[in-house]
C-alpha cells in the first residue's frame, strides 16, 4: 500500500531573483526508510 501526502507549507519569495526559495525543507531523501512520528520536513524562519 502507498500513502500520498499533499500539503501547503511556508515558502519565502526571494525578491531579487523572483523565484521562490522554499522555506520548508524536506529532511528525507528518496529511498529513505521512515517511521511514524519522524520528521519528514521542517521550516525555518528566514
Amino acid at each position: 500500500s502507498t500513502v500520498v501526502l499533499v500539503f501547503q507549507a511556508p515558502i519565502s519569495l526571494s525578491q531579487e531573483k523572483g523565484d521562490s526559495s522554499s522555506e520548508f525543507k524536506f529532511s528525507v531523501q528518496r529511498g529513505d526508510r521512515v517511521r511514524v512520528g519522524e520528521a519528514l520536513g521542517r521550516w525555518y524562519d528566514q
Binding site: S1, V6, F26, V28, D32, V34, V36, E38, R42
Partner: protein, 369 residues
C-alpha cells in the same frame, strides 16, 4: 528435458519391474506432454522474471533511474478480477489459527517480510488470525512523535518514493521517470486543491501577491463556508507552497496511519477503484496506478493551510479502515462491472467543525482483503 526423459525411463522401468501391470499402470505414470510443457513454461517465465529483476536491481544500484515501461503482464493484470482476489485473500487471512501455531505462522511472516515482532503490542498467540496480526498496534512509546512545532512528521512507516514541491499549474507528481499523474485526479475533482494550485503561490510581484491572496481567500472562503468554525489559515501565515511526499509500505511494515501534524479533517472521499499491486515493478509498468486504485482521501486544514492524505490500497491490502469513521467499508463487491464512478464524499460534521486530530493521532489503518 534430459532430466524429464530419465524420469520417464525410470518410471517406465519401475512400472515394468512391478509385473508390468500392463499398459494402464505404466501409462498412469506418464507425465502428459501438457503438464511437462506447462512446468517448462513456468520455469522459463520465472527464470526470466528473476533475470529482469536482477537487471533492474543492478541498474538501480548504478544510480540509473528506472523508466516507465508498460509490459504484457501489466496488461494481463487488467483482465484479472483483482478485487475479488483481494476479498478472497482477506477471507483466507481471517481464518482463525490454532493458538499453538500462531507464533510460528507470525514468525514466518516476520522473517519473510522483515517485521519487528518485538514492537507488537500483544503476545503473538493473542492474534487470532493473520489479518488481525497484520493490523497490530505497537507497544506504547514505539513511535515517538517529533515535538518540534515547525516540523511535519511521517504519517506511516515505509520507504520514501518521491517528494517535492508542486510548482507547475497542472500539479503533476512523477509516478516513475517518464510518467506523471495529476494530483487533481488523485484527490478528486471536488478537491479544494484547484484554488490553491491555481493560486500561483509563487508569483513574484507584490500586487499579484495581493490578487493571489484574494484568490486564496476566495478558496478558503469556500472551505470556511463548508466549515465556518475553522480558522482562516491564509491571513495568519506567510506565502505558502504546495508540497507532496509519496511513501510505500512493505507488507511487513506497521500499517496504521497517523496525523502528520495538528490537522482538522473536513472531508473524506472514497474512490472504489481497482486493486493493482503497488510494488516497485507495478509503478514502473502500470499507467496511473495510484489514480486507478481503490483509495480513501482525507482533506482538511492545518496551521500552514491545506493538507490532504491519500491512502491507496493494493491487491493484498484492499481495505482501508478509518479510526475517525469506523463505519466506512472499502473493497466491497461492486454491482456493476464498469470502472468506478465519482468518489463517495463525506463532509465531516456538516456545520463544518471537522474532525480535529493532534499530531501523531491514529487516523486510519490498512488491512488485508
Amino acid at each position: 528435458s534430459s532430466l524429464l526423459k530419465k524420469l520417464h525411463k525410470t518410471t517406465q522401468a519401475r512400472a515394468f519391474a512391478n509385473g508390468g501391470g500392463g499398459g494402464s499402470k505404466g501409462d498412469s505414470f506418464l507425465l502428459p506432454g501438457a503438464t511437462v510443457a506447462t512446468l517448462l513454461m513456468l520455469g522459463v517465465l520465472h527464470g526470466r522474471r528473476m533475470y529482469e529483476d536482477r537487471k533492474a536491481e543492478e541498474a538501480r544500484e548504478n544510480g540509473a533511474e528506472l523508466e516507465f515501461q508498460p509490459d504484457v503482464k501489466s496488461k494481463f493484470l487488467r483482465l484479472l478480477p483483482l478485487r475479488s482476489i483481494s476479498r478472497c485473500w482477506g477471507l483466507l487471512t481471517s481464518v482463525e489459527i490454532p493458538v499453538s501455531l500462531r507464533p510460528h505462522v507470525y514468525g514466518a511472516w516476520a522473517r519473510a517480510f522483515h517485521s519487528n515482532l518485538e514492537e507488537a503490542a500483544l503476545p503473538l498467540d493473542e492474534y487470532a488470525s493473520l489479518r488481525e496480526f497484520f493490523v497490530r498496534t505497537l507497544k506504547e512509546g514505539s513511535r515517538p512523535i517529533d515535538p518540534n512545532p515547525r516540523c511535519l512528521v511521517s504519517p506511516v512507516d515505509g520507504t520514501v518514493l518521491r517528494f517535492g514541491e508542486l510548482r507547475e499549474a497542472g500539479a503533476m507528481i512523477e509516478q516513475v521517470k517518464g510518467f506523471s499523474y495529476s494530483v487533481f485526479s488523485l484527490l478528486g475533482a471536488n478537491s479544494f486543491l484547484p484554488m490553491i494550485a491555481k493560486g500561483d503561490m509563487h508569483e513574484e510581484s507584490s500586487e499579484s501577491e495581493n490578487t493571489s491572496r484574494e484568490k486564496n481567500k476566495k478558496s478558503w472562503l469556500r472551505v470556511s463556508l463548508a466549515s465556518p468554525k475553522v480558522w482562516d489559515p491564509v491571513s495568519e501565515c506567510p506565502m505558502n507552497g504546495l508540497f507532496y511526499c509519496v511513501i510505500y509500505l512493505n507488507p511487513g511494515d506497521y500499517h496504521r496511519i497517523h496525523a502528520p501534524a495538528d490537522w482538522n479533517v473536513l472531508v473524506r472521499r472514497h474512490f472504489s477503484g481497482r486493486l493493482f499491486p503497488v510494488n516497485e515493478r507495478a509503478t514502473r509498468t502500470i499507467r496511473n496506478l495510484y489514480v486507478e486504485n481503490e483509495r480513501v482521501v482525507l482533506e482538511g486544514l492545518w496551521k500552514e493551510g491545506f493538507m490532504a492524505l491519500a491512502a491507496i490500497g493494493a491487491t493484498n491490502i484492499g481495505s482501508i479502515e478509518l479510526s475517525i469513521e469506523p463505519e466506512l467499508q472499502t473493497n466491497q463487491a461492486r454491482k456493476k462491472l464498469l470502472p468506478s464512478g465519482p468518489p463517495e464524499e463525506q463532509l465531516y460534521e456538516p456545520d463544518g467543525i471537522g474532525r480535529m486530530l493532534k499530531k501523531g493521532d491514529e487516523v486510519a489503518a490498512f488491512n488485508m482483503g
